[in-house]
């Protein structure tokens, strides 16, 4: 049989995976995955750029590790779900526009544009996120701001999409996938077979999302470290913890007369490394939890920042600006919010897992605070400044 090639029409696609019963369920799951990504991403954004009303707790110490782990892993799960959903609705790409009815045509055009924005933005977030965790940046834009902006596009376009599809989605979601026994027994046939194939497609999509998570979750879930073949980071590294930025990359040269400066409104103090080491030390198990979703715990030993401030006679319970020896770069300084600055687990660490910090880990001393992104755990600290 020879058929003349032509542009397909939606009716040409007869596979059960194209049923709205499947589309709506995949849509729902995708909504959950992107919703989790957006919520946790927004938290991470606010932790790094806190608006005045925002506070982030210091306990549990693993809180940021968990939220950011959820962020990257729900993004990974969304990859197969997005592809499954797009396969499910692929026939609708070929819906012919109602050319002769201007009002319906413009509604159709608007809907198509909003769906295009949604698909563009969804792909963009997953692709750029995936490259970012591998620290690969084959593009010209600045990843954090672009990824943040497009996150709003995804969420906005998704809300518009749900507004348009709500009647179809509600009808589809309230129709059970499995036909009732009696009906099935009475009329076994095409419908029955379709229903089982629809369920198989959904089951497979969910299963593949699970496999994708398993294949990567080792970046942050300790007991999966050895299981996940595609975890972008292992937990190993010098002194037991991976390093994102080496002393060489940050062009750090520790001066021989290095002293820690402590500055507050109306006073200043400074301590040598020997002074710091002579103060009462505290050891705490805290994670380095990177924005890239990987995390690893270590035993850090050092002086609590709050104890250091008290000893110097500086006010406590205020935000503290922590400045590095690093002279340029985005992460040369960070601000500890007041809750973190007065937490006794917020350390100026001198040792990691029982050894002196290596230069790559921030020698002579580094900040390590509970429940914060790794980029804010400033290394090679030179100065603490109590803000007003």
């Amino acid at each position: 049989m020879i058929r003349r090639p032509r542009v397909p029409a939606p009716e040409d696609f007869t596979a059960p995976s194209h049923s709205p019963l499947v589309t709506a369920r995949l849509g729902l799951w995708l909504g959950v995955a992107f919703g989790l990504c957006f919520g946790t991403g927004l938290l991470s954004h606010y932790i790094q750029h806190p608006p005045g009303w925002f506070t982030w707790p210091t306990r549990p110490v693993n809180l940021y590790r968990v939220t950011q782990g959820v962020h990257v892993l729900s993004g990974v799960a969304a990859i197969p779900l997005l592809l499954a959903k797009l396969w499910s609705v692929y026939p609708r790409l070929f819906v012919r526009p109602p050319v002769r009815q201007p009002i319906r045509l413009s509604a159709h055009a608007l809907e198509r544009i909003s769906v295009l924005v949604l698909v563009c933005a969804a792909f963009f977030e997953l692709v750029t996120g995936l490259f970012n965790v591998a620290q690969s940046y084959p593009w010209g834009f600045f990843f954090p701001t672009a990824h943040y902006a497009v996150a709003w596009l995804v969420v906005g376009a998704m809300l518009l999409h749900v507004a348009v599809k709500l009647p179809v989605a509600r009808a589809a979601l309230s129709t059970p996938l499995r036909r009732r026994r009696a009906v099935q027994a009475a009329t076994p046939g095409v419908d029955d077979r379709d229903s089982s194939e629809r369920r198989a497609f959904l089951r497979t999509s969910a299963g593949v999302a699970g496999i994708a998570v398993l294949a990567t979750a080792g970046v942050t879930v300790p007991w999966l470290r050895r299981v996940s073949p595609l975890a972008w980071r292992s937990a190993s590294g010098p002194q037991g913890v991976p390093i994102n930025r080496t002393a060489a990359a940050a062009r750090i040269a520790v001066p021989p007369d290095w002293r820690l400066e402590i500055v507050w409104p109306g006073g200043r103090d400074s301590l040598s490394l020997a002074d710091l080491a002579a103060l009462p030390q505290r050891t705490a198990e805290l994670p380095i939890a990177c924005v890239e979703g990987w995390s690893a715990s270590a035993h850090w030993t050092g002086v609590p920042v709050v104890a250091l401030l008290r000893r110097a006679g500086a006010p406590t319970g205020r935000p503290v600006r922590v400045t590095s020896l690093e002279t340029d770069g985005l992460y040369a300084a960070s601000t500890l919010p007041a809750v973190h600055a007065r937490d006794p687990l917020t350390l100026l660490a001198l040792r990691i897992n029982g050894e002196q910090l290596s230069p790559d880990h921030g020698y002579p001393c580094r900040l390590i605070a509970p429940s914060r992104p790794g980029v804010l755990q400033t290394k090679w600290v030179a100065r603490l400044e109590v803000l007003r």
């Binding site: 797009l86 906005g156 376009a157 077979r193 194939e197 595609l230 972008w232």
Partner: protein
Amino acid sequence: MRAVRLLLFVVGAAATAYGGSLLLPQLGTAMPWLIGGPVLHDVLVAPLVGLVGLALGRLVTNRFRRAWIVAGLMASATLLLIAVPLLWRPPSAPPNPGLPDRDYPLGLAVGLAVIWAAIAVVLVVAATVDRRVADRRTDRP
């Protein structure tokens, strides 16, 4: 439902507009990466998936077996996609010592091997069970 839809429209339009305004300064450089996904998908990936599906429908007529093969293909494609940034490292990437710190090609190969081995086991077991059932039926007087 009308009120809910209206609310979704308003909030959705506002969030989209906000995202667009945030993206505006970088729109030029981001554009190829925005458009690339749907274009690649719609003109390349989806037709390919359709063709593979059609071919599979002809080659494998047992629906149970076909479902498992489809599952294997979907899982393999997903793992391959996730591995792309780990395997392909364009020179524009900044130096990052200690990363990638694993043998990803090996990990990917092992992952794919495990998936297909599991599917092979399922299919062999199912085929054996089928044969037993068929044998018992024909044995009956």
